[in-house]
């Protein structure tokens, strides 16, 4: 399943990464090397194998659906690149 530079450009778009042509070329080559290596997995029969999503069985953790205020709202807002009141400012959307 080799990928070409157009595939890489599509993936970069999905990943929200504005990559240069040079980066796209490099990553296309390197991802192909890694995916080549990963092809060995195809030889393993996993038809009757369940996937492991939790390495240590814990069951589903449930809690009451209750909102709790974060104690340091000012500390969160301080990190905003651009803040107005309690809102983060972004370029115009509409």
């Amino acid at each position: 399943m080799a990928i070409n530079i157009a595939d890489a450009r599509h993936v970069a778009d999905l990943a929200r990464l504005d990559l240069t042509e040079q980066e796209l070329a490099t990553y296309t080559e390197q991802l192909n090397q890694i995916l080549d290596y990963a092809q060995e997995l195809e030889q393993v029969n996993t038809d009757k194998v369940e996937p492991t999503y939790h390495s240590v069985a814990a069951g589903t953790a449930l809690r009451e659906d209750k909102a709790v205020d974060f104690p340091n709202q000012a500390g969160i807002l301080r990190n905003g690149p651009e803040v107005s009141g309690t809102s983060f400012v972004v370029p115009r959307i509409l």
């Binding site: 929200r16 290596y37 997995l41 492991t52 240590v56 972004v90 115009r92």
Partner: protein, 484 residues
């Protein structure tokens, strides 16, 4: 004094033979002397540390007559810079988080503080913990105290180098595929990755959530156990943490290992493992046999697929976790962006380094429409097979042995050009994360003058037994830490 172990320092503090202020001063003298070359720390907090040390000394004086002091009272420790500490910068060694000031403290760090520890600084890492040499730090290059032309390992390379260079008495790292154990091996110290869920991950900047775990880097096995005693435990803020009765992880350290059944992993002693590393590990295994353990060899055939499965699972989860860095609420923002999509794409492109982008690309591809079953799902099924291999082994054995890494510390630049060869340096450590098991690296000897780490792995939540056997490895090897 900076050369003391955590345990030795604690005993001296509690007996009144030294003070926390003196300990902090000695550690900072060591930092001033060696940091220009080692560069383990991204930031240090000398004034705050001295203030905390004075308070600790007052408490230590009182405790002489009253109750027993907190277990780490007055002990200077370091934490990896992907752990949040209130009102300090947490960068993950990434340009995208430069200037980010933590609005809260990670649970594991908070537990250290509550136990009386003094957090003296935050240590370097591969950007977002992605790497095996700390060369992927966007901020600085950390050197190995044993040979400053070589890497300290990674991704917790700063913490490992700081502990090895006696620039602190222990530290916390994070381990997703070997990031505590491999740098511990390269720097000749002890590194423990606990069972997934034993230590809360709340406040650890997430890399791959099903694999990440916080653990200690320490001068000795006993020091690692003392730190684990403090950081282990359930936390409602981490839904994957486990509620279990507390254990004293130091309890079995002095016990002999007569009759313990331990197996060398065949797949991790063959091709790709340096002869000198294999010899050091086999010598250490013989030593365990001399101490009364039964040593055999076991085959875990699915391990040959672990690396491929790991890089699909880890990068897939990373691509999702790192979606939050978009220049909106925190971190770097590209000011020239004309719309929101450009803001996301340009901020991320300018803020992330090459390895982080590579892994986001791989993970995004593995999760994208049409490839999910072939890559992510397939990798998660391989993970089940690896768990089953371990399960069969632990029905027979108390612990498994392998080298921690295929070679001793390599030179700067040696593997930078080839991502795959860098990934291969984690071949022995990643199966442990895929299965969620506890693993520890203990120094067991030298290869051409560089430390070799022996990795022990036990069944889930068997840290007591793991540490007991690790202490026996330590006693047998008589490894001498470097003294700078």
């Amino acid at each position: 004094m900076q050369h003391l172990t955590l345990k030795e320092l604690r005993d001296k503090l509690q007996k009144g033979e030294t003070t926390a202020v003196e300990a902090v001063q000695k550690v900072f003298a060591q930092i001033r002397k060696h940091e220009p070359v080692i560069k383990a720390y991204l930031q240090t907090f000398e004034q705050a540390a001295l203030g905390q040390a004075q308070k600790a000394d007052e408490l230590l004086k009182k405790s002489g007559t009253e109750a027993r002091p907190a277990p780490l009272l007055g002990v200077p420790l370091a934490v990896k810079d992907n752990l949040n500490l209130l009102n300090t910068e947490t960068t993950c060694a990434s340009k995208i988080l430069r200037g980010y000031v933590s609005p809260y403290t990670a649970t594991a760090v908070q537990k250290l503080i509550e136990a009386g520890a003094i957090i003296i600084g935050k240590t370097n890492l591969d950007e977002f913990a992605m790497g095996s040499s700390t060369e992927n730090s966007a901020i600085q290059q950390t050197s190995n105290p044993w040979d400053t032309g070589r890497v300290p390992g990674g991704s917790s390379g700063g913490a490992a180098a700081a502990v090895a260079a006696d620039e602190c008495f222990g530290g916390l790292g994070s381990d997703t595929g070997g990031s505590i154990r491999q740098p511990a091996a390269f720097c000749g110290i002890v590194g423990l990755k606990p069972t997934y869920g034993l230590v809360s991950r709340y406040g650890l900047v997430a890399f791959a959530s099903s694999l990440d775990q916080i653990g200690p880097l320490a001068k000795t096995v006993e020091d690692a156990a003392i730190i684990l005693n403090v950081i282990a435990g359930y936390d409602a803020a981490d839904s994957t943490s486990h509620a279990r009765p507390p254990q004293d992880y130091t309890a079995l350290l002095g016990q002999d290992i007569k009759g313990k059944k331990i197996a060398l992993i065949k797949e991790l002693l063959g091709d790709g493992i340096a002869d000198t590393v294999r010899q050091a590990v086999e010598t250490a295994a013989d030593n365990l046999r001399t101490q009364g353990a039964v040593i055999e060899t076991v085959s875990l055939p699915t391990f040959q697929h672990a690396l491929a499965a790991y890089y699909l699972v880890a990068t897939s989860e990373a691509s999702a976790n790192l979606a939050r860095f978009d220049g909106v609420r925190f971190g770097y923002r590209q000011q020239s962006a004309k719309n929101v999509l450009e803001l996301f794409k340009q901020s991320r492109a300018a803020g992330f380094g090459a390895e982080v982008k590579r892994r986001i690309m791989l993970g995004t591809y593995a999760l994208s429409a049409g490839y999910y079953d072939a890559y992510y799902l397939k990798a998660q099924k391989i993970r089940t097979l690896i768990k089953q291999d371990y399960c069969r082994a632990f029905a027979q054995y108390d612990a498994l042995i392998s080298p921690t890494a295929p070679t001793a510390a390599f030179k700067f630049g040696e593997k930078v050009g080839s991502p795959l060869s860098m990934y291969l340096s984690d071949i022995a450590t990643i199966p442990v994360n895929l299965a969620g098991l506890p693993g520890i690296s203990v120094p067991c000897g030298l290869a051409d003058g560089l430390p070799v780490g022996l990795q022990l792995v036990a069944a889930e939540f068997e840290e007591q037994k793991l540490l007991q056997i690790a202490a026996a490895v330590e006693r047998g090897s008589k490894f001498a830490r470097i003294r700078l």
